[in-house]
Amino acid sequence: MSHAHPTSMGVDSRKMAFWAFIGSECLLFGSLISTYLIYKGKSLVGPYPHEILNIPFTSFSTFDLLMSSLAMVLALAAIQRGDMKQGKIWLFVTAFLGLVFLGGQVWEFSHFAHQGLGLTTNMFGSTFYVLTGTHGAHVTVGVIWLLTLWVQALRGKLGPGQALTVEIAGLYWHFVDVVWIVIFTVVYLIQ
């Protein structure tokens, strides 16, 4: 379905519903970030955040996700002007950068596990894995969504008429990015 239905307010119904969904996601991540902050510094045993968090590595992940957001807006702009060749390229780049981020998170989690930090090791482990794991699950959903759009574009089923579908996927992707912006500051930089 490419054409959405306008509401009585003159806005698109699918876009309105998606913004409401993103609003509810703010509350979900707000509660997870609250939990992390409340239990910050309450761990009775290590490893502690300053012992294992790798700032240079996470800075690269942050850069990667920011560039994926840029790729996403370039994909949308290309599809809106009917340049499907560029649209396909940028959609793939966005999904690829998302996969790179996920790969980094898998490496980080396994590295922490080897360092002795499990989900039930201490309060830091519990709140850290739940917060960043929930974000990672959102990135995974986003990557699957983007790859689905990319395959549709390859089959010729995605064009300027479906720009709204791409825009909504983009809203989700950018939201995942802004959540990471907050997590990077609150969890990694403010120790």
Binding site: A20, C26, L37, M67
Partner: protein, 105 residues
């Protein structure tokens, strides 16, 4: 511009997207840089929060197009966002406030 708030709503140009990306990268570099500079340790937390809020606002305004889109979308996003912020601040205040009271009592 087609239907307001639809797929064809006016968005930023490619040049603007690239400039926003450059600012986002620069702010991230500044964040990481001040993290390692001991002179900033005293004001590190407020400084990082301001820089993070700047990045957040740039992505939401330009990449999520809230600057150009229907104001109702800003309300749909902003209202829960401020509610979430209130929850974070309220819970922190309640938790640390209760710890202080117990310690004082």
């Amino acid at each position: 511009m087609s239907e307001q708030g639809g797929a064809g709503a006016t968005h930023a140009t490619t040049g603007t997207y690239l400039r926003v990306a450059a600012i986002l990268v620069m702010v991230t570099l500044i964040e990481v840089g001040i993290f390692y500079v001991p002179a900033f340790q005293g004001i590190l937390v407020p400084l990082l929060l301001v820089l993070s809020a700047l990045k957040f606002a740039l992505v939401v305004m330009f990449y999520m197009h809230l600057k150009f889109d229907n104001r109702f979308f800003t309300f749909l996003f902003g209202a829960p966002l401020f509610l979430a912020l209130g929850v974070v601040i309220g819970l922190l205040f309640l938790f640390y406030g209760s710890v202080r009271l117990r310690a004082g009592g």
